[in-house]
Amino acid sequence: MSKTVEKSFNVVLAGVGGQGVILAATILANAAVRAGLSARVGQTFTAAQRIGSVSAHVRLGRVIHSPLIGVGDADVILGLEFLEGLRYLNYLKRGGLLIVNTYIFPPRQIMLGQSKYPDPKEVEDIVVKKFSAKVIKVNATEVAKSIGSSLLTNTVMLGVLSRVSGFPIDHRYLVESIRERSPSKYVELNIKAFNTGRKLIPQL
């Protein structure tokens, strides 16, 4: 049997309900399928309600079986919200990449003073120094708002992701996939958001 874990590109997407985590995961996987690859998206449960933590495992590659990523096997954690990006760091592989939106949606316990924010500096120290991972912070929600709506955060983040080294899909397939899968009213805006996201970081 051939080894396939290495050959797959594994991303954990995370955010809060209403941010379009699952749609972003679907767009990614659909682009991979269009490009002739195999893809799986494993979702964490989502009830109808907004606001809770939502995450999805996305696996892209030549042959993919498992819809879930093992801990420590993700190439990238893509956090659409700051705290959610940190929540799944146990999935990140050594030397992996954390791409995280700086936008914070404060949990109620924090506002009530019952718990504290993790110190971003400390987190970055641990991730970078102890784990030789890279961290990219982007203000995707601000960028999305400037394009037209905070709802575009997910496609801005996909644009950033598409610049990462080893990312296996040509960006043209992503644009096609956005066209096919996003709500028709938002197609053009989403493509604009995606292209803007691509310019937020240099090619890695």
Partner: protein, 624 residues
């Protein structure tokens, strides 16, 4: 979502549930009915979107028992019928299912049971493959979306050929997994319904039942052979290796992942089977014979494992067999790549270090507790209920039920004492009330749940003269599972109009004399009616009617209706945090630098309830 109608040969990304829907379409399904339940709901929803185009019947039923029985009628008329539900739904539908296996079917009959290992969205993680064994019907267990489609299609043929209902067992890692699927030919069905009248078969009592049981037993061997010969059973062999893994369904994916990660592809044989009832015996036997030891990896209960043990015993095979019974794999919770890798490493006696990972304890990320959406009418209801219960100075018990409103258990309301299954809020409340366990007993139930299984317990409360207070939280939809319509909404799964069944009429017809309807957004009125209901000397029903805020804001956006918006006048806010502590609307954000609360205009749905909650009148409407 036109892709489920794509052309044969197309390779498309489908959700497992969409793949099941496509499989049914390819099989020429005529009749689809079900009751919502995660993770099954998207199957019927996907079919409803294309029903008119395909000319098939698709609708939601009031509950799973009714859904299954309705489909029996369609199948006996010769139509290919699909019934969808979650695992606990099969508990509700178990009664007709058992007899259906006896009488058999005419048109292919496929029952989707969407199980929920890990209780992601359920009250149990029961293994419904036992239902297939109990009813003596075959169960197919797909591994991925492609198989979900292909097995659904085959399930219809097996069902029709052997005149037996077939179960397809899913789990969230199938139903809610996206993967590529190559589409097949669509069968255009032109079946004319016709019921072969035969009371000696369809009136299943006494001697008829016994005769039908015999027929069911006689089918078993033939079906076993069919299952044994399916291509979905897969064998991966390495020459001269005598260690093997048997797996089934979604677990196969984790086995492959683990083998890969442990780099033991050339050191172990794998048999993946497609059914645990009947067990593909020939496949299993020859695998048993060629391996000195075997690990069995399956989701939930050790059903395959016990059968393999029995088979080995029967054929005097001394292969060592490991699995869940000896703790190699956990009996509780769902499998994942890591639990499976750990088990396989232990089984193979190879060292395994869990991949070096960042510990989540290196820094803690605060949890997001369960919370109602901004503007949720349930939040307003619970706010009032809590206020009233604090004021009445009587002991109380609040029995809960299943739906978005179960979140009332969580902070800030912490108000629900029980929740076991749909409808139980009302019956359990009667039990508490008749036992005199407290002064006041309140049952909280949603509209969809009331219709599903709340009516008989309400009649029973009246009949037993149990003075319970039933709050029906009517948000005019089945919200938790994705906003499906129900008989109280006046429209069907395909969006067609139907007669609206009024909950107030039902409550009155059950014999309840106190039936009142209030808008939970109106806190004062709600609290007044709640007090009256509590004081009323008899069973009372209060219907709290207000559309689900998430559904409403989506509808408003689609129709271009602007929602009202509210804002906190910063000068008036004293930062007391009462709104966040006692009400907890997620649109209200506390800014620790200004020590004041503001309302996120993007999240606010304009319910305006917070206006009445702020003690300093700091909240005002600010237009749209």
């Amino acid at each position: 979502m036109s892709w489920i109608l794509g052309n044969p040969g197309n390779r498309v990304l489908l959700l497992g549930n969409e793949a099941i829907a496509r499989g049914a379409i390819e099989a020429g399904v005529n009749f689809v009915i079900g009751y919502p339940g995660t993770p099954s709901s998207e199957i019927l929803a996907a079919l409803a979107r294309v029903a008119d185009k395909l000319g098939i019947y698709v609708n939601w039923a009031i509950n799973e028992k009714v859904a299954l029985e309705t489909a029996v009628g369609a199948s006996l008329s010769g139509l290919r019928s699909l019934v969808t539900m979650k695992h606990v739904g099969v508990n509700v539908a178990a009664d007709p299912l058992m007899t259906l296996a006896y009488i058999g079917v005419i048109g292919g009959f496929v029952l989707i049971s969407a199980d929920d290992p890990q209780c992601h969205t359920s009250q149990t993680e029961q293994d419904n493959r036992y239902y297939a064994m109990l009813a003596k019907i075959p169960v197919l267990e797909p591994t991925n979306p492609q198989e979900a489609k292909d097995m659904t299609r085959i399930a219809f043929s097996i069902s029709e050929e052997h005149q037996i209902p077939v179960m397809l067992r899913s789990t969230p890692r199938l139903s809610h997994t996206f993967g590529e699927v190559v589409l097949g030919e669509i069968t255009k069905s032109s079946r004319k319904p016709s019921f072969p009248r035969d009371p000696d078969r369809w009136v299943c009592v006494g001697p008829t039942a016994l005769r039908r049981h015999k027929i069911l037993e006689e089918k078993q061997n033939k079906i076993k052979e069919v299952i044994d010969n399916l291509d979905f059973n897969k064998l991966i062999l390495n020459n001269a290796v005598d260690i093997g893994i048997i797996t089934v369904g979604v677990a196969y994916n984790y086995v492959l992942y683990a083998i890969d990660k442990l780099n033991i592809g050339d050191k172990v044989n794998v048999l993946k089977i497609c059914s645990s009832n009947p067990l593909p015996e020939k496949n299993v036997l020859s695998f048993l014979k060629r391996n000195r030891k075997i690990l069995i990896v399956e989701e939930l209960d050790p059903i395959v494992e016990k059968q393999v043990l029995a088979l080995a015993k029967k054929f005097n095979i001394d292969t060592e067999i490991y699995g869940k019974l000896d703790g190699f794999l956990p009996l509780v919770g769902e499998l994942n790549p890591d639990t499976v890798a750990i088990a396989i490493a232990k089984f193979m006696n190879i060292p395994y270090e869990v991949t070096e990972k960042l510990s989540t304890t290196d820094f803690s990320v605060p949890q997001r507790g369960l919370a109602f959406c901004a503007g949720c009418p349930h939040r307003a209801t619970y706010y009032s209920l809590r206020k009233v219960l604090r004021e009445i100075k009587k002991s109380y018990i609040v029995t809960g039920d299943i739906g978005c409103y179960t979140i009332g258990k969580a902070s800030p309301f912490n108000i629900l004492d029980t929740c076991i299954c749909m409808g139980a809020s009302i019956s359990m409340a009667s039990g508490f009330e008749l036992s005199k366990a407290s002064d006041v007993v309140i049952a909280v139930i949603g509209d969809s749940t009331f219709l599903h299984n709340g009516i008989p317990p309400l009649i029973n409360a009246v009949y037993n003269n149990s003075k319970i207070k039933v709050l029906i939280l009517d948000n005019e939809t089945t919200a938790m599972t994705g906003h499906q319509p129900h008989p109280g909404t006046g429209y069907t799964a395909t969006g067609a109009k139907s007669k609206k069944v009024l909950i107030e009429d039902l409550a009155k017809a059950c014999g309840v004399e106190f039936v009142k309807i209030v808008d939970p957004y109106n806190l004062k009125e709600t609290q007044k009616v709640l007090r009256e209901a509590i004081e009323f000397n008899g069973p009372a029903v209060v219907i709290l009617r207000r559309t689900c805020a998430l559904l409403y804001s989506r509808m408003a956006r689609a129709k271009g209706i602007k929602l009202k918006k509210y804002a906190v006048v910063q000068d008036k806010c004293r930062g007391c945090l009462l709104c966040i502590r006692d009400f907890g609307c997620p649109a209200m954000i506390y800014d620790s630098s200004t020590k004041k609360v503001h309302i996120d205009p993007f999240l606010c749905t304009g319910c305006g309830v917070c206006v009445d909650i702020c003690p300093f009148n700091a909240i005002e409407e600010v237009g749209q």
